[in-house]
């Protein structure tokens, strides 16, 4: 267990060392993020705070959390497939898979850096929102928040690994990622409450981990709700995680097996 954790950290270190040379890119990215937060501040001024589903939360912080977590989810979706594809080209996928480390750990760890970087982004969004726009955050139920974030991480890893397996298997993928990303954004309770959706399609959002993640994160950060208040949402999120992550790892095994049959672990 400890050893696996160290391995995951080794991936983080590897990509950190690769990326530090892109400092300018990082600063430009942050500047862009700040602008988009400001834009949302003004857009949400046009919204009615009494909209159904906002649950008493101000539109701006509501959307802000949606924005930052949606970014997180779509990063997860793209990160696994992009990394694995890149390592196929580099020849490093083979180099990793010939080591005694189990394939599932290699696959799972691939996006560690992207997750960590995503967390930094979320933190920057929130910091900016509190400092500049006076959003009030509750620090009363950090445990609940942490639980929600960990489950968010694991469930989005599950989705990301699923989509990467799909790409590895069928060798084409952009439509999948694009589709999943669009679906999560539309149905995921991200920019508008899913309660606004017409009843016949509203059920879709219940199957998206991001909906429950956002309920938990908004509830604990913006309203100070406790574990007891959010237990239903956390349970739903946990169930989805328990389905998605093993499913993703299972399909990644199938995809890697196929690549081993075809000799396509390395590609030119």
């Amino acid at each position: 267990m400890i050893r696996s954790l160290r391995k995951i950290l080794a991936f983080l270190q590897r990509d950190f060392l690769s990326e530090v040379s892109y400092r300018l890119a990082f600063f430009l990215q942050v500047a862009g993020m700040l602008l988009s937060v400001a834009a949302f501040y003004f857009i949400t001024k046009m919204m009615n705070p009494k909209t159904e589903g906002l649950d008493g939360i101000e539109p701006f912080p509501w959307v802000l959390l949606g924005l930052s977590f949606q970014y997180y989810f779509s990063t997860a979706l793209y990160a696994f497939s992009a990394k694995i594809r890149g390592e196929q080209m580099l020849g490093t996928l083979e180099a990793m898979l010939v080591s005694p480390t189990p394939t599932s750990i290699v696959i799972f760890s691939e996006a560690t850096w992207d997750f960590a970087f995503g967390a930094i982004r979320v933190a920057i969004y929130l910091l900016f929102a509190t400092l500049v726009f006076g959003v009030k955050l509750y620090a009363t139920s950090l445990g609940t928040l942490a639980l929600g974030v960990v489950l968010t991480l694991l469930s989005s890893a599950g989705l990301g690994i699923l989509s990467a397996s799909f790409i590895l298997y069928f060798k084409r993928g952009d439509p999948v990622n694009f589709f999943l990303s669009a679906v999560t954004t539309f149905f995921g309770n991200v920019f508008f409450p899913s309660a606004l959706l017409p009843a016949p399609i509203r059920w879709v959002s219940n199957f998206l981990p991001i909906k429950w993640s956002l309920d938990v994160v908004r509830g604990s950060l913006l309203q100070g709700k406790t574990l007891r208040d959010l237990r239903g949402e956390i349970l739903n999120l946990a169930v989805l995680t328990l389905v998605l992550l093993p499913l993703g790892l299972f399909f990644s095994r199938i995809a890697i097996r196929k690549a081993k049959r075809e000799g396509s672990l390395v590609q030119y």
């Binding site: 050893r3 160290r6 391995k7 080794a10 991936f11 270190q13 590897r14 060392l17 690769s18 040379s21 580099l90 020849g91 490093t92 083979e94 180099a95 990793m96 898979l97 010939v98 080591s99 005694p100 480390t101 189990p102 290699v106 097996r257 081993k260 049959r261 075809e262 000799g263 672990l265 390395v266």
Partner: protein, 332 residues
């Protein structure tokens, strides 16, 4: 004698990837197949250096990848150190693979950072990691350049780093795919002596090495197998393979004069003139006698200045097999 690498009846067929424009023009045509391995049997003994020789496309890399669990065979079995390769978890700690592909590292990291990352994957205990990496870097002669970016390395340095990586977990079996391909002659020689003296001699590692460099096989390997178009055509010690199917013996004679129309009990393979002497290479059948030839020469009044036995070399054995192969292909 204990075998640590065993392949039995390994068959592998690849389906060639079809370019998109062809897919569009002939969507229902069956994809072309490449029979990379057509029933390969191979046994490598513990502690030997075994050479896998073969021309381009013979299937060497495919076989090594099957042995290292990176490619799944269609049929047949591969066993490493007593474990079937279907049990990846038990096989991988026993093998170190040196890829022929010099990419396979992270370009933006230094050599040392690369090795550090792979040490985690190879389960090197953290306390020993630093020392182990330093020792390996020193052994492959990369200590001084360890902190430069991998992207700035020469092909030879990349290759040496790949050897260091394969040794991180100190595996008893090394699979090397053309390890000297991009090395200059001096570095190639030093890598060969490193393999021979240190890895094999001192550490007792078993080495299975793919190469198409016959000289390398002759100087390095205890035994070799010649793989052509997915089948093993010869297997044995270098001497056995060299002499395989050769029932003639060859000699080079230096004579002052070769009698015109001389017909001794031999065949003349070549003749050349130099420094007032003629050098004639002759071949005798297995039971042909050299003294008969010499006597006939002396009787005809020639003086014989030298007579050397010529051993067949691996190169010849190799081209003979390739010839057989082309003939077999021409007559279906």
């Amino acid at each position: 004698m204990q075998h640590v690498v065993e392949a039995s009846q390994v068959v592998k067929t690849f389906v060639k990837k079809r370019p998109v424009n062809e897919l569009v023009r002939h969507p229902f045509r069956r994809a072309e197949r490449v029979r990379a391995l057509r029933g390969v049997d191979l046994r490598v003994r513990a502690g030997e250096i075994f050479g896998l020789l073969g021309p381009n496309g013979a299937g060497k890399t495919t076989l090594l990848k099957i042995l290292s669990c990176l490619v799944l065979p269609d049929s047949g079995r591969a066993v490493i150190g007593g474990e079937d390769t279907v049990h990846e978890g038990r096989v991988k700690p026993k093998i170190g693979l040196v890829h022929s592909d010099e990419r396979s590292f992270y370009w933006r990291l230094s050599g040392r950072e690369n090795l550090r990352f792979f040490s985690h994957l190879y389960d090197v205990p953290r306390r020993k990691m630093g020392a182990r990496i330093d020792e390996l870097l020193r052994r492959v002669g990369m200590l001084e350049d360890a902190d430069r970016r991998f992207a700035d390395y020469s092909s030879g340095m990349k290759q040496r780093l790949a050897v260091a990586r394969a040794l991180l977990h100190d595996p008893p079996i090394l699979l090397m795919d053309e390890p000297t391909r991009s090395l200059d002659p001096a570095s190639a020689m030093s890598l060969r002596s490193f393999v021979r003296e240190e890895l094999n001699g001192r550490d007792g590692k078993t080495v299975l090495l793919a190469t198409h460099n016959l000289h390398e096989a002759e100087t390095l390997c205890d035994r070799v197998a010649i793989l052509v178009r997915g089948k093993i055509r010869r297997i044995g010690t270098v001497d056995e393979v060299r002499r395989w199917d050769v029932d003639e013996r060859r000699f080079r004679l230096e004579v002052d004069r070769w009698p015109p129309g001389f017909r001794g009990p031999c065949r003349v393979l070549s003749e050349e003139e130099g420094e007032g002497l003629r050098r004639v290479t002759i071949a005798l059948d297995r039971d042909g006698r050299l003294d008969g030839v010499l006597r006939a020469l002396l009787d005809s009044g020639s003086a014989v200045h030298a007579c050397d036995r010529i051993e067949p070399d691996l190169e010849e054995a190799f081209s003979r097999i390739l010839e057989e192969e082309t003939e077999a292909e021409a007559t279906p």
